[in-house]
């Protein structure tokens, strides 16, 4: 799995590519959680993610809690139907801010 991070205006954009599971979730957290130490606007683009398991989704919850703790904001976007099904299994659509596309997510922060 690849994690790339860039700044679009005042919004941080993290793009994931590959499969997020228990084997690389620690790597993901190490890359993303430091960003959330300050109150930023963060978009995580999951369009490159083919599979996410429960630990991957747990990491998303963790990101959400870190952002909320310092007054930052988090949006997820670009989920494939399969990934979306996983999130809905855990009813995460109700506690995570999920946009359909990256553009939609960036626009809503603008």
């Amino acid at each position: 799995m690849q994690v790339t991070s860039e700044l679009v205006g005042n919004v941080h954009l993290v793009t994931l590519d590959g499969e997020l599971d228990a084997s690389n979730v620690t790597y993901f957290k190490e890359m993303v959680l430091p960003l959330l130490a300050s109150p930023i606007k963060l978009v995580i683009d999951l369009s490159g993610i083919r599979f996410i398991d429960s630990s991957g989704m747990g990491a998303m919850i963790s990101c959400q809690r870190h952002a909320a703790a310092v007054g930052g904001r988090l949006k997820l976007c670009g989920m494939s139907p399969e990934v979306r099904a996983s999130f809905e299994l855990l009813r995460l659509q109700s506690i995570l801010d999920i946009s359909n596309t990256r553009e939609e997510a960036l626009q809503s922060f603008a």
Partner: protein, 743 residues
Amino acid sequence: MNSLPAVEKFEPVAASDVVSANPRIIWWLKAISRAISVLAMTVGALVVIGGVLDIALLKNLLTGQETASPNAAIAIGLIGVALWQLQDGEADNAGEVQLKPRHRLARLCAMGAALIGLVTIAEYIFDRDLGVDHLLFAEPQSSVGTSMMDRMAPGTAVSLVILGGALLQMSRRMEHWSTQVLALAVGWIAFLACLGHLYGAELLYGVVCIGGDCEATSNLPRYAAVALPTALMLGLLAYGLLASRPHDGLMKIISSDSTGGLVARRILPAAIVFPTAFGWLNVSLLDTDFIQPDLGAALVAGIDVIAVGGVLWWSSWSLYRIDVQRRLTERELAQVREREIEIGYRIQRTLLFDYPPHDLPWARFAALTIPSDRIDGDFFDFLVHTDRQIDVILGDVMGKGVPAALLGAATKTHLLRAFSHLIAIGNDRASLPEPKDIITLANSHIANELIALDSFVTVCYARFDLDRDRLIFVDCGHTHTIHYQQQTGNCVLLAGENMPLGLDAHEIYTQYEIEIMPGDLLVFYSDGVTEARTRTGELFGVERLVDLVQTHADLDPEELTKRLRAAVEAFSGSGSFADDLTCVSVKLKEHRLPGPLRRAEMAISSDLKELAIVRDFVEQMASKGVLSVDKVNSLKRAVSEAASNIIIHAYDRRPDRRIELDVEVFADRVVVRLHHLGMSFDPQQVSAPKFDGSQEGGFGIYIIAQSVDEVRYYVDDRGRNCIALVKWADQPDERRSHDASDI
């Protein structure tokens, strides 16, 4: 096989095996007895010497009077000699003493003393002077001739006769209780005489004036008094007699190291001393003018209560402490035993129990066993030879508890040993040894040992042969297996005619064959089921069991077993039973169903990096036509979570372990099994996840349950923990017609 001698029965334990004499007390008692006999001999000798040499001090040693007859002293001396000679009397088995010279001497002395007493009594009775009173010292001391006053007192004479008799008896039968009763009688007479002297009650020591006023009728018969030294000497001799046999009769308790001995040693002296002392105090107070007599009596009684109460409390306190100690020890012993049973129970549950196979396509198994007291004397075993041949063995050892459990384990071992032996010597290694041969061989190995142990084992050995649709069984005196036939809807009891294992080493066992069909149900059980009782003693019985099986024959065996347990518990009104209770049910299924279209296995190391490989493997196998893309994704998700759980929880993140997977693709479903040797986990223990964002982990079990149609956690027949996942091609409600899943 060498046979040990038969197990010895316990001898009943005698009191003397658990309570022994206190050696220190024994030593003291014997020493005192010897000292008393020496004292008596010395006194006798001194008086005789005094008489011969006419030394008044010595002559009157015992009486304190000028006019004493030396007879009493001589008799006392003789008794002292007899007592000395009879110390350490060793009796033979019959209790009769072998006569030795010193015993003869003792008899002679005892007879002499008794004779002196008897003659004196005769003198009193016939009122004649037979001359014994001055036998030794011819010259009468009294100027008025022999008077009554020179004779020994009647009490002394009686005591001498009794003592002499007691010693005679002792010289004949060393340990007879009668000597001690006689000694007690003398002790009591002497004690009363002493009390008489102490309290000034003349009647008690024997000065009797016959005919009223002594002063007025001085020529009327007057009996001499038992002098205080004589009384003391007689009392001591009585005590010496008792103390010379500290092991026997009444003294057994006093010398014993039991609590009874302790109490006796404390209270008996008090029982003698206190009444004496307080009686004396009472009498003395009466003589003084300080206190009013009634007030004095009240005060003495008050002090008496304190003293007696104190001694009793002291003794009770000792008893209390001893009792507490004893109870603590008992509790400790009980705890040790409890711990052993607990360990035995764990060993049995973890190492000795076999688990029924879960992954055979043609049958479902369920097993239940409830030991009556944790350790189980029932056993069962499943031998999976091929996926179409399996042996089910169910046994019941006579008795229960630890010996029965060990015998059960031994029987299992011998059955397996017989099995492997028969395979090794068989010509055709491809075919299995016959059940009857296995049983016959195992029985010949263990029968003699079981006979020596007074035990036996009933066994039902059943082989399911799916290639021929046959059940081959050997019934060794076991309960009759219930065979529910789906075709007729009836239950048949399968009975053989063989004896239990352990009755005859030469028994040749026979086997029976019956036809079995898909849908049939076989229920093996121990008599703990049918012999469960109500409180009023009514048996559960075979009929009730058959009815139950017939009614619930369509249920899954697991469920049937639960119902059976509930029924027996409801019937007996309790969750625990008098006997071990065991039941194994086997439900046959259609085994000619089409097998899997494809099957593949793979093994991974327990490294999280392998998860992606597992998902690819499942996707590859499952996605060719049978399941929709969504269903493949769901299955993949479940398998990934299961593998992840195994690595993280069962293997505690150790990356060097193995996980074995197999995937079977059927026309209508895909089955994935994950096998591991890590810690098993119970999905029931996992709490339901919270979806409010407060929880970041612990969703795995939930995801698995939501993503596939069936999940089963079990231990497979190779002892591996297994998670089996089934994803059906149809929606769940569309496959009602299917039998239960083929995991």
